[in-house]
Amino acid sequence: MDYFVQQLLNGLTLGSVYGLIAIGYTMVYGIIGMINFAHGDVFMVSVFIGLILFLLITSLFGGLAIALALIIVLVAAMALTALWSWTIERVAYRPLRGSFRLAPLISAIGMSIFLVNFVQLVQGPRNKSIPPIIDGSFTLPMIDGNVTVAYKQLLIMGTTVVLLTAFWFIVQKTSLGRAQRACEQDRKMAALLGINVDRTISLTFVMGAALAAVAGVLYLVQYGVVSFADGFVPGVKAFTAAVLGGIGSLPGAVIGGLLIGLIEVLWSAYFSIDYKDVAAFSILAITLIFMPSGILGKPDVEKV
């Protein structure tokens, strides 16, 4: 029981990070029907941005409280990563809009390769690490043992919940989010109602990247180490999560992320750590056989 709860906790932590990245995939897919293959690498860039900012801030203002430093890093990383993503969309995707469907997809793969190589070039090929940002844990007594809860796990889950709530509020309740959903459902009509569609699409990339940056900073808090190649696997996992949850669905992305995280961790804990990826992808394959549009990706009943 205690072992299971412990693994559940680890799985949810990992799943939070996947879920945050998955939202970027699912939103962009929802609005322009394109898989942004560079998104995983944008996440990787955000980890580097977080790492550099953290080192910068702690060396400049040594005495700064860790909580304050983290908040500054988080906000700044979100802004800078959003800027990266905005630029990528502007340079690599927007000029291809209205071209054939595969063109932006190929461009995205190109962007992904560019980002990986760019970071390798400017940051070097080796792992970059920082000392643990948040230490410590407390034990939770269970009936038949103890569960260790690391403070950083709480931070990761807490931050995810807060930001997802804020994000959900923006999408569901503000005119900005409404414009976004309108573009997703009918771009032509949105333009007829005075919505600047290009700007709304840019904004979608910006929001997806900001959430990826949150995942990036949390990843840094959890692992404390990153290399130029670290965008690929989390990127693919998050993409899987988005598909599993039903691509285009925001709650689906979060649920998919949590599921992939849990499957991966529980499989490692009870069966074999070597086959954790196999397990995650097999579950995806099986789910898609029985639910081709994912868990929440139900096709809408629409009258014509």
Binding site: S175, R178, K188, A191, L193, G194, I195, N196, K303
Partner: protein, 253 residues
């Protein structure tokens, strides 16, 4: 009695609110509009009738810049809008209830109306909501229902209501009667007359249902294969044998 087309047909002293001149629109290499001239004056209801595929909906969309005219010009209140982006044209208070209604299916009726009000002063929202739901009481009952679950007639009402929420100067209505029961058609045409008379909204209406449209309109145009072949007062065209033969035979549908 065919009325040859003459751009200076009426209201020669006033500048038209909407002035379309020599507009040609293409889909790829296919010319859908072959040089259209048309005027809509402030306060009017103008209708354009024509068969399926005549180019009526293309003209509506070309006025809104999507697809933009390849040649010719479109002026609104004296301003050249021929190549303006669609969302900037909407900002000039031209609202459209387009072909196929284009309700946002996964938004509630209220959210659809909020989308329509995006360009209006937010302080008007409650008044405008009351106004459009008094025009179409059915929408009030359905306010929190998703747009995609409405019936065809309700969707049509919602499309018109959504267009009205921006407090437009010019309202473009593309086949508001399409696919609707006769009773609802009557109701919708009554509302169109009311919007025009009581609130002074200028209306440009495209219809296949020639009888209702011509009865309602101050002036009318007939479009065939992307060109305007006739124009005149609504009642006049209603009496014209050509129009009767081509568009009104088979009764007052």
């Amino acid at each position: 009695m065919t009325l040859p087309y003459d751009p200076s047909w009426e209201n020669a002293g006033d500048a038209p609110m909407l002035c379309v001149r020599g507009v040609r629109t293409y889909y790829g290499s296919i010319m859908a509009l072959r040089g259209v001239d048309l005027d809509v004056y402030a306060g009017e209801i103008v209708t354009m009738i024509g068969a399926n595929g005549a180019g009526k909906s293309t003209l509506m969309m070309t006025i809104c810049g999507d697809p933009a005219a390849r040649t010719g010009s479109i002026h609104f209140e004296g301003r050249d809008i021929t190549r303006m982006p669609t969302h900037d044209i909407a900002r000039l208070k031209i609202a459209q209830s387009p072909e196929g209604r284009r309700i946002f299916p996964r938004m509630t009726v209220l959210e659809n109306l909020q989308m329509g009000a995006g360009l209006a002063d937010p302080r008007h929202f409650d008044d405008d909501l009351n106004y459009v739901t008094s025009l179409f009481p059915r929408l009030r009952e359905r306010l929190h229902q998703r747009g995609g679950t409405l019936s065809g007639g309700e969707q049509q009402m919602l499309a018109i209501a959504r267009a009205l929420m921006s407090r437009p100067k010019l309202l473009l209505l593309d086949e508001p009667s399409l696919g609707l029961a006769p009773l609802i058609v009557k109701q919708i045409f009554e509302v169109i007359a009311e919007i025009n008379q009581r609130d002074g909204v200028t209306i440009f209406l495209v219809e296949q249902n020639a009888y209702h449209a011509l009865r309602l309109a101050h002036r009318a145009y007939v479009m065939v294969n992307g060109v305007i072949t006739m124009s005149g007062a609504g009642a006049e065209l209603l009496r014209s044998p050509e129009v009767r033969e081509a568009y009104l035979e088979g009764g007052r549908h």
